[in-house]
Structure formats: C-alpha cells, structure tokens
Amino acid sequence: MFKAFLIKYGEIGIKGKNRYLFEDALVNQIRLALDRVKGEYEVSKSQGRIYIECLEEFDIDDVVEELKTVFGIVGICPVVHVEDKGMEQLTKDVIQYIDNVYKDKRKTFKVNARRARKNYPISSMEVNKELGGKLLEAFPDLSVDVHNPDIFLTIEIREKIYIYSKVIPGPGGMPVGTSGKAMLLLSGGIDSPVAGYMIAKRGVAIEGVYFHAPPYTSERAKEKVVELAKIVAKFSGPIRLHIIHFTNIQLSIYEKCPHDELTIIMRRYMMRIGEKIAKERGCLGLITGESIGQVASQTMQSLRATNEVCELPVYRPLIGFDKQEIVEISEKIGTYEVSIQPFEDCCTIFVAKHPVTKPNVNRIRHSEGKIREEMEELVEIALHTKEVLEIS
C-alpha cells in the first residue's frame, strides 16, 4: 500500500545559506542507507522536503530500519500516493486509507490539505472540510480535534496526491560528513562506542584507534572491537580503524613507573598516540567515552592529567552521563550485547590494586621523565607497525 516516504528533517532546515550542503549530504546518506536494502528507490528533494519513491516491491520494515540509522532524519512518514481523478475518487481513497491504517477508529483526527500544485481547482480549506465531513460519515467512531488530534492526516496535492499520517521517529542529529572528522579511542567496553555514536550524530565522520596488547589481551578482544566498530559504522559511515600494538609500551611503563600511576601514564600515551594518528589523518579532535568519576582514571584530577598531553580538543560526549544512561543508548544502538562479552582483557596485571584517584600532575611528569627517551622510540615503532582496517 505504501509506495513512498516523506523524510522530515529538523536542524538542517535552519542552516541558512549552507542549507543545500546539509540537504545534499542527507540525500547522499539516505541513498547509501537504501543501497543496503533490496529494491530500487529514487531520492529527491523539493521545496524543503525529501521524498523517497519506491520503484519496485520492497519490505517497509527493512527500509524503515535502515532509515533509522541516518543522522539528520527527524521523522519518517510512509506515504500512499493516488492518481488525481477528482474529489469523489479522492474521498474514496482517503476513506480506504484510514480504514487500512487504523484498525481502531475511536480516535480524533484533523485533515491537513496542502496544495503544492496551486492550480488545483479546490482550495485547501475546502478539501479539509469536504474530506473531514465524509470521514465522519464513513466512520462514526471518529471525531474531529483540530488542536491535538490523534491522526494528523496530510493530503498533499502534487502531480499525484500523497496521503500520510504516521511519523516514525528518526535518530535526529546532522548528516554525517557535514562537520569534519574525529579520532575515537575505541576499547571493547560499553562507553567508547556510544561516545563515537554521539559525536557521529553531530555530522562528524569517525576514525578509530584501538590498543592491542597481546598476550595480555586476546585476539577475540580485538575481534570484538572490530565488531563494535561495525555497528557504529552503520550510523557513522565507514570507519578506518587503527590497531596499535601496545604491549611493549605497557611493559616499559610497568617496569619503570610507580604502579599506582600506571593507568594514568598508560592513558597519557594512548592520548599521545591517538593524537599523532589523528593529526596525520586530518582529524579535528579526539573522542573518548569518559564520564566524570566513573573509575579512578576518570576523576577530574585524572582527566586533567590525561588531557594535558593533547593539543587537539578531546570530545567527551558522555562526560555528564550516569552508567545507566550510557547503557540505555548502547542497548538502543545495538553495541551493548557485544560490549558485555567477557573476553575484555586479561591485562588486569596492568591495573594497580589501589590506583591514584587524584594524581599529581608534577609527579606524573616526573615519573614519565625517566622513560621519555625509550618511550619515544617505542611509540615510533608502535606507529610504524600499526595495523589498519577499513570497517563498514
């Protein structure tokens, strides 16, 4: 019955002269999403709207699922279109539409006619009145509410006539590719994939870096990160994942630095390496999944200590979130089930029993000073031996 979709978008409508750039990006992302479902589709924009025409048989649920991954979409309206064969036929079509879409007729409604084709002989107001009256006759259970109707029935008069009333919420945000690129520090945990998702939602393209420490972390832990990147990539578009072999760096820190500072110093090196790759790849910032106070390395003092090694801005979209709020998003986007698989790390030896929660930056700098030269070399080696995967 549905043969088209009307796509509603929000914020990009207010971007002034750059608006077309955002609209074009959105159309582009919609096309990419539709490439992943069976059938042929035509995506077009006209008068501040984006339409998807379905040219072949298609599965509405599959299409909607894919469209829900396209940032920038606020609402997805499945549309029925009918030929313009005069008012009498239109009345029949509209009655049939309501009959099919709403099994339970005990609802309030409002008809909202719009004439894109201004030479249509009847005015919008008259169409509203006429159809409203006929619907009340056909379905005695219906009643009119012009302020807050259950069914907001739009009749759009174009070459054909478009009928729609349902709005399926989209993910919101801005189309990916309209805001530059950032480097996500991706671990196998719950937080970092969510952080990547949140930043991608603002139109940012993503690359990722993962720190692999065999034999202390397993091959399966790496596979898990790849799988997480795949899920994020459904929303963000392809992700280039840089895998850094981190074992020797960790062991050096472990051998030569105070153990209660291990995690902080390790994080500082992760940030340094992340930033190096980010700059090389033209990224404008780093993304982490940190949230204040969640663990010892995420206290305000620790964040200050890890933050200072980077010149690029570090985006922390989860900074004010509670764990439960993060878990809810991860469940929604589908990363949760993967994140909780247990082969996260066997590198607990790198976690001190009592890590500092309020690191003193001067002391950390002093500890690092002792290993600076050898670390520079190890970091260089790590950068040269990194593995790169294209994930989509």
Binding site: P214, S218, C346, I349, V351
Partner: protein
Amino acid sequence: MEVYLDNSSTTRCYPEVKEIVIKTMTEDYGNPSSMHKKGMDGEKYVKRSKEILASLLKVKEKEIIFTSGGTESNNLAVIGGAEARKRAGNHIITTKIEHPAVREPVNYLEARGLFVTYLSVDKRGRISLKELEEAVREDTILVSIIHVNNEIGSLQPIEEAASIIKEKNKNSLFHVDAIQSFGKYPIYPKKIGIDLLSISGHKFHGPKGIGALYVHEKVNLSPLIFGGGQQQGIRSGTENVPGAAGLGEAAKIIYENLEEKREHLYSLKKKLIRGLEEIQGIVINGFMAPITNTAPHIVSVSVEGVKSEVLLHALEEKGIYVSAGSACSSNKKRTSETLKAIGLSQKLLDATIRFSFSEENTLEEVGYAVKCMKEVIPVLRKYVGR
C-alpha cells in the same frame, strides 16, 4: 610451528570422516524415514554406524541412540533417566567433578525436589568407593560418574563402582560420561553394569554436532525431544546422517591399534610432565603414579604467578594452542568446580592451563611446547600484578 595441544576441546576430523560426511551430504542424502530407495541409502549409514558402535561397546544396535552431541547425551541420560525411575525414589548420586553437561541437569533436578549426593574427590581427583557405597540408598534412582575428567584427566574406577551400585540397589541406573574416555580405552558398558553411556563425535576425530548415548535395552528412557518418533521415540527428529556416518567412521578408525595409540599418548604425557617439572613453581594437577592411573591425553598444569589467559595467549604467539581450565566454560569467568574439588589453592585456580593430546601429536611437538613454556613463564612472571 603450529602445535595443537587442545584435543580435549575438539579434534581434527580424520580424512576418511570428511569423505563420508561429504558423500552423505551430496550423494546419499536421503532422509532415513523416507520410504523410497534414496531414504534407504541414507538409513544405511546410520545403521552402519550403530553396528560399529555396538560392536566396539559389545552392545546391541538398538541400544545406540544418536544425539546432537555430548551435552545432549548427558542431559538425556540424567533427566530422561531420573524421569523414567521417578516412581522408584528421588535420590541421585554424582561427583563434584562432573562436566557442566551433567552438573547442570542434576542441579535442575535438585531444584525440582530431588535429593542429590555429590561425591568428593581426593587431591588427585579420584572418588572414594567407600563413600560411594555409603551413599547408595534404597531410593537412589541414578548414579552419574564421569569416566575421565575433562579438566585434569583423572580416571574413575567405573567397573568397581558399577558392581557396588548394583549390589546395593539393583534398580538404580548407572550413567557414565565417557566423552573424554571413548577412543582411549575399550569400554564394555553392558558387561560391567553401566546402563547409560555418553560419547561425543568431535572428541575423537569425528564431526561436531553428533553424539551418542548407549541405553540398556531394559531401560525405558523418557525422551527430552518429541516429534516424529525416530530412534524408537527416545530421540525424535530426522537423524543427522552425515554426523552419524562420520562418528561411526571415526570410532572405527580410532579403535584400530588402540593399545599402540594409547602408548604413544602416554609417552607424550610423560615427556611433557618431565619437561615441565624442571620449571620452578609448577604443579601438575590430578597426577598419580603410575601414569596409567590417569588418562593418557590430558595434562593440567598450574603455574604460580601467571594468569592462565595470559599464558595461553603467550603460547598462542608461539603457535601452541592449549586451553585455560576447561574450554567449554572458558568464555565465562567462573572458577572451575573440578579444580576447587581437588583443593587447588585460590591463587592457582586462575593460573591453570590444560594440554591435551591426540594421536596426531609428536614427541617433537611436546619438546617444543616445553621449550616455549620455559621461555615464556619467566618473562610473564616478571610482570606479576601486586
């Protein structure tokens, strides 16, 4: 060099097994229940495999039931057995070192009101026959004992156990989980008084997804899976013809020159243990002299100060594959019941790996494994968490 020493997790299929599986998938693919010739072609393979197993175990063909694997065989034996005997009593006996495929169904029955006695084991992983004798009561309906423990390779005296059980209560069923021992020893369940015996195809170079259960002809096992009434109604569902064919073929091959193969496995085990004993701070679990008192193919090692997962991955980097604790439970972070039962200290529970051999392994491979252990352990110990 790639050295696969995780054969208690699974084994590589024999080439002959591969061939017969392909044949039943592409040529003789009929459904044994079909009345036409194609169906009979498929049925032939199932029948042949039952013949092979029946002759190896010295039982009747109709006493062999194919299942989806060792786990289903154990579940069917425990739950189906208890259900069948529920009028005779409500007491079950098992050990503290069962595989989860027995332990969990027993726990399930316990939660539904049956009484369970869990036999303890000594530090070498052996039950006490005296304790067993005292445990068997008038209302005991099922005893389930693992023949060779999958984690430490301890071997239970099932023959003596069978006579004790039958003497004290001839109505009690006796189930033996022989998943690790089938293909290592000749086992004649009917002769020694075992009523139910579980085996699993992929533990002896057969395919995964196929197992078998020997069910004594006088036992009316209650089914767990209902349907078209195949396999005398005990296990409905179209027979897994490729699996059954492969299992039968593998069973036939592994029992050829069995003595010789077992000697070979013992020589591997001896060499590994001797080599490892040169390393400081190492414990071989479940070992007792003479070596033939333990299974020929399993060596469990605890390494002080090294986490088992880390050691596993460090060996993996050298091309050596072993498992941490028991592979079936290694995806879950839980401590091994077996290792706890033999009284392993807390700090070693997390530091235990298992080597397990097949006939395909060589002395050279074991030598390489010992050499790698000697290299890797001191390095890993340097970074022990504080």
